[in-house]
Amino acid sequence: MGKPTGFLEFGRELPKKRDPQARINDYNELYEDFGKDKIQKQAARCMDCGVPFCHSGCPLGNIIPEFNDAVYEQDWEEAARILFSTNNFPEFTGRICPAPCESACVLGINKPPVTIEEIEKSIAEVAFEKGYVRAKTPAVRTGKKVAVVGSGPAGLAAAAQLNSAGHSVTVFERADKIGGLLRYGIPDFKLEKWVVDRRIKVMEEEGVEFMTNANVGENIPVKDLNRSFDAIVLTGGSTIARNLNIPGRDLKGVHFAMEFLTQQNGRVSGKTFAPEAEIWATDKHVVVIGGGDTGSDCVGTSNRHGAKSVTQIEVMAKPPQVRDSSTPWPNWPMQLRTSTSHEEGCDRNWAISTKEFIGDETGKLTALKIAQMDFCVIQPGEKPKFQEVPGTEKVIPCDLALLAIGFVHPQHQGMLEELGVELDERGNVKCNAMHQTSVPKVFAAGDMRRGQSLVVWAISEGREAARHVDTFLMGETKLEAKDISMLSAVVGA
């Protein structure tokens, strides 16, 4: 490791964020530039632990101490080699990952953890800048054809891996542009879309075919897919949003968060919408229902729209300021998180249940009836029980309500039904340990298989699924596995 005492000498430092009041005027990324020397210092804080919990905590198994060391040594090419060996798209995760690695960082036991995510982003950007990322066309094509349905992070990762193994990969995307959630789910101020475009371009050069506006099960018949491809990987995501079935749900002004966010992303990229379809927060009292990341994105977007007020309500109790003892290091901590969007202005409320959407006579939303909740003591392993605190019911003004309370499962209707793949009890695509569905040549990965989750998990899913598809096609695979060494392969047993 570069500097054994680095963690004693340097503190944690992240790039500066632009002033909240300034940045809400645009959709650009909100971090200022960070010098390489600063990144080097941050990398020097890595202790190269005997048991690197970060490496364990990363769903992708990024070999974090090794790339930190390379960055400290200013060997960016080596750092990129290490990083890209486990992660196809660090330029995405380096921007939008909640970084469970940092929660697991050993330094985090008693000091601020290493800025792993920022280092990751830097490596990715330097790699593009210096040309370390370039199209690597496989030397040999296997002649096998694979269809990847869905171009979110899972689909892209699977496609990239399968392509590198020499298979001919076609990615089907029902939207007009490639990227799935990356493209239309995450606001530009968190992930500018040129980043996605840049990656797609590399993949195209490597030989991956992309088909947009290709909705399998609708305009692309499932049987065509079955006929033309040796294997199919389903990576359509978990797209059915969880609804709030309370009175007034059909009032005008009540939307799923995704409707709101997708539209804004489209707008930033130059798309236009019919006026009646447009959703604007401008000059409105916005209430975001749901305290998670998506809710946060709605807050940020609403502020950029120029909302009159932004309120966020969450049904669960307010988490503690510091790591809760029920989620000790190195676990993902239960603790209060303040996102960059919150910094831009938002009234946050916890333990609130939404009882009714109240509208005016035109069917337009005007207010929300809410009430305070009280949590009973819960036993470990049991679902929390909560009940309304009598006398706390009140009505708050609301012109736009955004439901950001998660997704239940993938869309069944259409492709999944036609393929006839079995579903699990939660409505996700059921797979065996090889990511294989009940239909032998059909595999699934990402949120479509495991339910809603993080981008980093989606990439991991795509990579692991690719290995199994490769094995399915070729009898063996040499694609990088997260947990299995090549040295453990048994030969001629």
Binding site: V51, A165, P328
Partner: protein
């Protein structure tokens, strides 16, 4: 001993012995019965150097060698009607016959027929009168029938030497024929000819020292006269009593251990094919051979070789010089003639290496010699009436001091000869000068081939390109970790990298990742029976030089005998290799053989390849090649490299079997060699030199890529790498106590773990393998995994190396038991006191399934007899069986250290202070009842802070013989870690580095250990004495020895235990799992009926209650838990302890980091609660109500039947699961206390006399007689003082005792303040050991006439680890005077080699000569050496010290000490110096450690400016 199959883990070849030896002779050759009587008396006085088994009256063996008492035999024979011819015309033998009459007569018939066949005549037999009324039951059971046989010299033979040779043929041939034809399983023991000679005869057997005389009435007969008598008493670990293994043998009596015996005997048998001699016909030679007998002891084999070489024309002293050479390599002080002799003979024969004191005689001369390092004591004296007495100890015979004209000791590598024919003593110089100048060895050495003189090679391999290099790295098994952690580190720093914590990865045979073949071989190491060496501070005895080529007839000497390639170290650069490859000097060429096998995965492919290379090699030898170069540079997609170790060992043993090995050298060119361990295994299995070409390619590539320090040139990087490996090899040799490459070469110092017996028997003969494992096809299968990485069947992009994950946990790396999940769960469980979370942790650790790490994971409990949990003894009973591991304050922080101590004291378990002392403030309980005192005080080789007061404050004293993470190695605490606090506790200077030597300098053998146990028992009679051993083949026999040495507890540690800093190859490759060691120890102890006398403890990665349960079933009644306790205290396995950067405040002294420590005693208490609870659950399941019921019930374990991993299925643990049968009366757990016999020591009298002082601090005086059996005098008295008066003790001179006579070992050991001892006479080894403030005075008897300053008066290792006090010694002391002294002041009139070694404080004044290597590793304190003849400079090791002028302060103190010396001892030297003070002062040299000087200067400066905080001085 029989080689019959052993069901358990014990094997007779594991046995060791060591002993007391001595001789008495009349210089003028006058025979008398007194000589015999004296010798037997001497023998009886060395009883404490022998041992007895389970019965006090069965000794380990003793005997005597004398000249043939002709007069006596004539008389005796007359009674039997045998008419003996005159002396010299007959030979007499002492024959052990079987008890069974029929078998006896069968043997006799063979002997008789051979006498006739060889042209001699049987005169008759005499039944040797014996009295077996005193000998023990075990000895009785195997007592042979002893007879004298008388054989008449053939008339044709007139030369006595020739007759002696005939008798030799007769003896060897008869022994062999009897063995081959008499059907008795243990015929080797039952029939044995002790001696058969015309001039000497041996009487010996399975006796205690005093039984020799009573058993043989002959020896009491006044007509049994001799001019010389050699005696020997044996302390052995052996199980089966064996009469024949008693000594003396025919030519020597050996006190020591031949560490390299496997190699030596192998090389001897390799040499046999080329033997011829003018003294023996071919037929006779064939009757004699083989010389070595693998069923007998190392000493016996040495005797056999001595005998052969002596009888074929070399003189006995020359033979001793050949076999046990001085350290000549690199010794510039040695004269050229002698160096040439040794160098020439090195090409003929490798040293029989190990500690050795040997008495030898051919009946005409009697002499003694010592190994190169002087690791055994030998004292002699000569009287004015021509008596010469030599023994392991002084004072074994009462001699009138007025008669003594010389008292001396043998020095390392030196020889002492009394020539009874010439009637004089021949000095070492004279005898060697004479021998060395008999041939023009210097001239002959010109035939040696030097690499640098060889012409430039004809061709060379080109560097591979990037792609090819990667492929090679993949195919040979490199990981990115190997490149980064090992190769880069070595190339940049020139040192082997350090690591910390233990190893928790799977054993090679358990790992599901393809392993390096060398990883199946575990390094063995010295413990107890012989000392490891310090390869850095005692580099002078080490040598890496070797000779490659074919050997000629060993029984002759010629100029061509040394025509070999000389190598200064075994790692060849590419260029050097090419020189050898293309070597072509008359009759000297190299044959390259490619070591590949077909990569088809078919059964038999590897075997076929091995057959091929073996055949090629044999052909090459027969075609006259002198060197075989085994090269694995023949890799392609269809052919994989044979693991180089396998290829080398296969060729080595094949040639050995074919009798060709002696004619050729083996050089290896291999890609799969990069760590120290890889080199060590290759050398140990036959390679003379190795070219690790792929490492060089890799370093070059790393350099090209800018990955290495750009300031270092490629040559420098190569140089550094080679240096790291060379130093690492020395470390591996030295941990076994081997000092030379030549002796290590072929010595097979490994235990195989996970290799099938078939493979071992064929390719690694005589290597211990105990759990089965890989067949050849399995080995091929593993090799092919790597080959396939490089040459995959189908296209796949794989542009990188695997991650490894050995030294750091990695997801794709090797499995670790302590991984993110288990660490987290354990911490969470103990912090929240949640047993259910603990169970989750335990399940992950216990259910290893596919990812097995430990042997125990392959076992399961046999269910049945379950009882309710409530019937099992409560956790509180179990708590007292717990200990935490030894971790020093220094390696871990005060916070972590005291947390463990408080926790263990709360539950009644024991914490272990580790090596490094303990702050006295911790000895008193805290107001809240908590106690920071560690119940176990460790006594390790550094003896840091080991004072009387420290020892008195213990419930248990643990002698650390070895540490699992680095058995056989010492340690070093760098100066920057020694802050003020640690310095104070360790009695050293802050800022000055501290070295722990590899050996305890008071334990070079088992009888020495017995002495230390005795010392410690005296230092605290209430404390248990615990001896910590590390598992390896043979640890069971060592444990038996430890039990016989009266230890109360023996701890068997696994190889995987933790460490603060160790070389990473040691952490991984040295030592074995505790399952093997524990099972072996338990089996051997039960077999010896010793188990009941000792508590057996086990430790090494004990993580769960299941681990404890398995340890109990395998034989442990107590357990140590260290790493798990640390993890509970917050350790997250950073493995950075050696960097002082532990981020959780556990293993650091950095204040900022220490503040981050969050461990709490209650967390640790929770851990032990959980462990005990889980253990109780197992007990309930198996139906054991108490631990005692459970110990050793190994039949309740069985192999798991659900193993799925292909490698796991190859393992056979039946030897581990063997239950040693025990009769009803034999205890299989500790039930009886050891008999320490403390009530008989002189201190009992002293304490009684000292009552006024002990009660009221009144002055007391007294006078006592003392003899060599009075050992550790003053130690128990010191305990009484420390107990009452704590560290301060009594005022100086409160207790004044005077002793007269020869004091036994450890006189004044740990003497506390207030004690003032005066000894008139002499002292043995360990004088003033651990001196803790007492004052000692030693001077020769007033009646003596010899000049005191020229004679030896104190033995070796005086003042070892002394912390305070003063000593005045009028006369010379032996080797290692004041070793690791940290506070005592001493005046002495001459010292042996290694004076003031490792000293860290105090002051030593030497008013006479010093031996070599003075001040090696001396980091503190001051020595003043009086040096009027100015030879001191070259005898001083100046690596760490400098010579300074004396300042005023020095002069005052020096004068005070010399004046004291004069006043207390009457020293003539002191008187002379004081009388001529100003002039004498000019001749004093001040020896000052450089670092120490700097720190002192800094302290002084700071004092001047008023700063007293030493930490500024240290860290500023």
């Amino acid at each position: 001993m029989s080689e019959q199959a052993q069901p358990g883990l014990y094997h007779p070849s594991f046995e060791h012995d060591s002993c007391g030896i001595g001789f008495v002779a009349h210089l003028k050759g006058r025979k008398s019965h007194d000589i015999v009587k004296d010798a037997l008396h001497m023998l009886a006085r060395m009883e404490h150097r022998g041992a007895c088994g389970c019965e006090t009256n069965t000794g380990d063996g003793a005997g005597i060698l004398i000249q043939v008492p002709h007069e006596f035999f004539v008389d005796e024979c007359l009674k039997l009607g045998i008419k003996l011819p005159p002396y010299g015309q007959y030979g007499v033998g002492l024959v052990f016959f079987p008890q069974d009459e029929k078998l006896r007569e069968e043997c006799r018939d063979i002997l008789n027929r051979n006498i006739e066949k060889l042209g001699m005549q049987l005169l008759g037999y005499r039944k040797v009168p014996t009295y077996n009324g005193e000998i023990g039951e075990s000895a009785l059971r195997v007592e042979p029938v002893m007879e004298h046989v008388f054989v008449k010299r053939p008339d044709l033979i007139t030369n006595l030497d020739e007759f002696e040779r005939k008798l030799y043929v007769l003896r060897n041939y008869t022994t062999r024929l009897v063995r081959e034809s008499v059907a008795l399983p243990n015929i080797n023991d039952a029939f044995y000819i002790a001696t058969l000679s015309y001039k000497t005869i041996v009487y010996k057997g399975q006796f205690t020292t005093s039984q020799v005389r009573s058993y043989f009435p002959d020896l009491q007969h006044k007509n049994v006269v001799s001019a010389l008598a050699v005696v020997h008493s044996r302390f052995s670990t052996n199980t089966f009593p064996s009469f024949r293994l008693a000594q003396p043998f025919r030519y020597i009596a050996h006190n020591g251990e031949i560490n390299t015996v496997k190699g030596n005997t192998n090389w001897m048998s390799a040499a046999e094919a080329s033997l011829s001699s003018k003294y023996f016909t071919r037929e006779e030679l064939d009757m004699i051979l083989p010389v070595c007998d693998l069923t007998q002891s190392d000493s016996a084999n040495l005797d056999n070789v001595v005998e052969l070489l002596t009888l074929t024309g070399r003189s006995l002293p020359q033979v001793m010089m050949m076999l046990i050479p001085e350290a000549w390599d690199g010794n510039n002080h040695m004269n050229e003639t002698k160096r040439a002799f040794y160098e020439y003979h090195a090409a003929l024969m490798e040293p029989w290496d190990g500690p050795a004191s040997i008495s030898f005689t051919d009946g005409k001369i009697v002499g003694a010699t010592l190994d190169r390092n002087g690791l055994r004591p030998s004292r002699y004296l000569v009287t004015n009436d021509d008596k010469v007495i030599m023994a392991s100890e002084a004072g074994v015979l009462e001699v009138d001091p007025a008669k003594v004209i010389k008292k001396g000791r043998l020095q390392p590598g030196k020889m002492f000869i009394a020539d009874l024919e010439q009637g004089r003593i021949i000095s070492d110089e004279e005898v060697k000068e004479d021998i060395c100048s008999r041939q023009p060895y210097q001239e002959w050495l010109k035939n040696k081939i030097r690499l640098k003189d060889l012409p430039e090679p004809l061709g060379a391999f080109h560097e591979p390109g990037q792609q090819a290099l990667l492929k090679h790295q993949q195919a040979y098994g490199y990981t990115s970790e190997d490149l980064k952690v090992i190769i880069s580190e070595m190339a940049e720093t020139g040192k082997e990298p350090l690591g910390s914590m233990g190893t928790d990865t799977p054993l090679a045979i358990l790992s599901d990742q393809s392993q390096h073949f060398s990883s199946y071989f575990k390094q063995l190491f010295a413990q107890v029976t012989n000392p490891p060496i310090d390869p850095i501070r005692e580099r002078m005895v080490m040598s890496l030089t070797s000779y490659v080529g074919g050997g000629l007839n060993l029984l002759e000497e010629s100029p061509l005998h040394c025509r070999m390639v000389e190598l200064h170290q075994p790692i060849l650069t590419k260029k050097e290799l090419e020189k050898i490859r293309f070597l072509d000097q008359s009759y000297f060429q190299t044959k390259t053989i490619y070591t590949y096998f077909r990569a088809d995965g078919q059964p038999g492919s590897l075997e076929r390849a091995l057959k091929r290379i073996c055949q090629y090699a044999a052909d090459a030898v027969e075609d006259g090649f002198s060197i075989i170069l085994l090269s694995d540079r023949s890799l392609d997609s269809s052919h994989a490299p044979i693991p180089s170790l396998l290829a080398t060992a296969a060729v080595h043993h094949h040639l050995m079997r074919r009798g060709l090995r002696g004619k050729v050298g083996i050089v290896v060119e291999a890609g799969d060699v990069w760590e120290v361990h890889h080199f060590a295994t290759l050398i140990s299995y036959g390679a003379s030199a190795i070219n690790p070409y792929l490492v060089f390619d890799t370093i070059q590539d790393l350099k090209n890529k800018g990955k290495l320090n750009p300031e270092l040139s490629l040559d420098k990087l190569f140089y550094n790498y080679i240096k790291s490996i060379s130093d690492g090899l020395l470390k591996v040799f030295s941990k076994m106590g081997i000092s030379t490459m030549q002796s290590y070469h072929g010595a097979q110092i490994f235990e195989a773990l996970g290799i099938s017996k078939d493979v071992i028997d064929k390719y690694f003969c005589r290597t211990v393998t105990r759990i089965g494992g890989l067949s050849l096809d399995d080995i091929a299968k593993e090799a092919l995994v790597k080959h396939k990485l490089a040459y995959p069947d189908k296209f796949v992009p794989n542009p990188k190396l695997e991650v490894g994950g050995i030294y750091q946990w990695k997801r794709r790396g090797e499995f670790h038991l302590f991984n993110p999940q288990t660490i987290h769960l354990l911490q969470h469980a103990t912090k929240t006191n949640d047993y259910s979370v603990y169970k989750k942790y335990a399940k992950l650790v216990n259910d290893q399934g596919e990812k097995a790490c430990t042997l125990r994971s392959l076992l399961k409990f046999k269910a049945g007899n379950s009882i309710p949990l409530s019937e099992v003894e409560p956790v509180e009973n179990i708590f007292k069986r717990f200990a935490t591991g030894a971790m020093s304050f220094g390696s871990i922080s005060y916070e972590a250290h005291t947390t463990l101590a408080i926790a263990m004291n709360r539950i009644g378990g024991k914490s272990n202070c580790g090596e490094g002392g303990e702050d006295e403030i911790r000895f008193e309980r805290k107001p809240n009842g908590d106690w920071e005192r560690s119940a176990i005080k460790q006594v390790a080789s550094g003896r840091f802070g080991v004072t009387s007061y420290y020892l008195a404050n213990a419930d248990e004293l643990q002698i650390k013989m070895a540490q699992g993470a680095k058995p056989g190695e010492g340690g070093q605490l760098p100066g920057h870690k020694v802050d003020e606090w640690i310095g104070r506790v360790r009695h050293s200077t802050p800022g000055v580095g501290l070295i722990s030597p590899p050996p305890h300098h008071d334990i070079y053998s088992i009888e020495d250990l017995a002495q230390l146990i005795f010392d410690l028992k005296n230092s605290n009679p209430k404390a248990r004495i615990n001896v910590k051993l590390v598992s390896e083949a043979g640890v069971g026999t060592v444990a038996a020895g430890v039990t016989k040495a009266f230890a109360d507890v023996v701890l068997i540690s696994g190889y995987d235990g933790g460490t603060g800093a160790s070389p990473i190859s040691s952490i991984k490759h040295a030592g074995l799992p505790w399952e093997l060691g524990l099972a072996e120890a338990h089996q051997t102890l039960v077999r010896n009926k010793l188990r009941s006398r000792i508590v057996v403890q086990a430790d090494g990665q004990m993580k769960t209650g299941r681990d404890l349960a398995i340890a109990a079933l395998l034989g442990a009644e107590e357990w140590g838990v260290a790493t798990a306790a640390l993890v509970t205290s917050g350790c997250i396995m950073m493995r950075k302890c050696h960097l002082n950067t532990c981020p959780v405040g556990v293993a650091t002294q950095n204040k900022e980091l220490r503040a981050l420590f969050t461990g709490k005693p209650e967390h640790v208490v929770n851990l032990f609660h959980f462990l005990a609870e889980e253990l109780r659950e197992v007990m309930a399941e198996l139906g054991f109500r108490t631990i005692n019921e459970m110990v050793g019930q190994v039949d309740r374990l069985e192999m798991r039947k659900d193993l799925t991993n292909w490698k796991h299925k190859l393992i056979d643990l039946s030897a581990v699961l063997h239950k040693e049968p025990a009769d009803a009366g034999v205890g299989i757990y500790n039930q009886e206390a050891q008999q320490h016999a403390l009530e008989a020591v002189l201190d009992v009298d002293l304490i009684r006399a000292a009552q006024p002082a002990l009660e009221n601090a009144e002055k007391v005086t007294g006078e006592y007689r003392i003899t060599n059996t009075d050992r550790a005098t003053g130690t128990m008295l010191s305990y009484e003082i420390s107990k009452k008066f704590k560290g301060v003790g009594l005022p100086i001179g409160t207790l004044q005792f005077k002793f007269t006579g020869s004091a036994g070992q450890s006189f004044g050991a740990f003497a506390a303040p207030g004690i003032q001892f005066e000894l008139e006479g002499e002292a043995n080894d360990y004088f003033g050991k651990g001196l803790s403030g007492g004052h000692l005075t030693l001077y020769p008897p007033k009646a003596a006439t010899f000049p005191a300053s020229e004679n030896i008066i104190a033995g070796n290792v005086a003042l070892y680890g002394a912390t305070a006090g003063e000593a005045y010694i009028r006369g010379q002391a032996g080797e290692r005077f004041a070793v690791r002294n940290s506070g005592a002041k001493a005046v002495v009139e001459g010292v042996g080699d290694h004076g003031c070694e490792y000293m860290t404080g105090g002051m030593v004044v030497v008013l006479g000569e010093t031996g070599r290597n003075f001040a090696a590793g001396m980091s503190g304190g001051i020595a003043f050496v009086y040096n009027p003849v100015s030879s001191f400079a070259e005898r001083c090791n100046r690596e760490m010290v400098e010579f300074d002028d004396l300042d005023a302060e020095d002069i005052t103190e020096l004068k005070r000490l010399i004046r004291n010396h004069f006043e207390k001892t009457g020293s003539a030297v002191a008187e002379g110096i004081l009388g001529d003070w100003d002039n004498a002062l000019l001749h004093f040299i001040k020896v000052m450690p450089s670092d120490y000087k700097l720190v002192l200067q800094k302290q002084k400066e700071l004092k001047r400016v008023g700063i007293t905080n030493l930490e500024v001085a240290v860290n500023g």
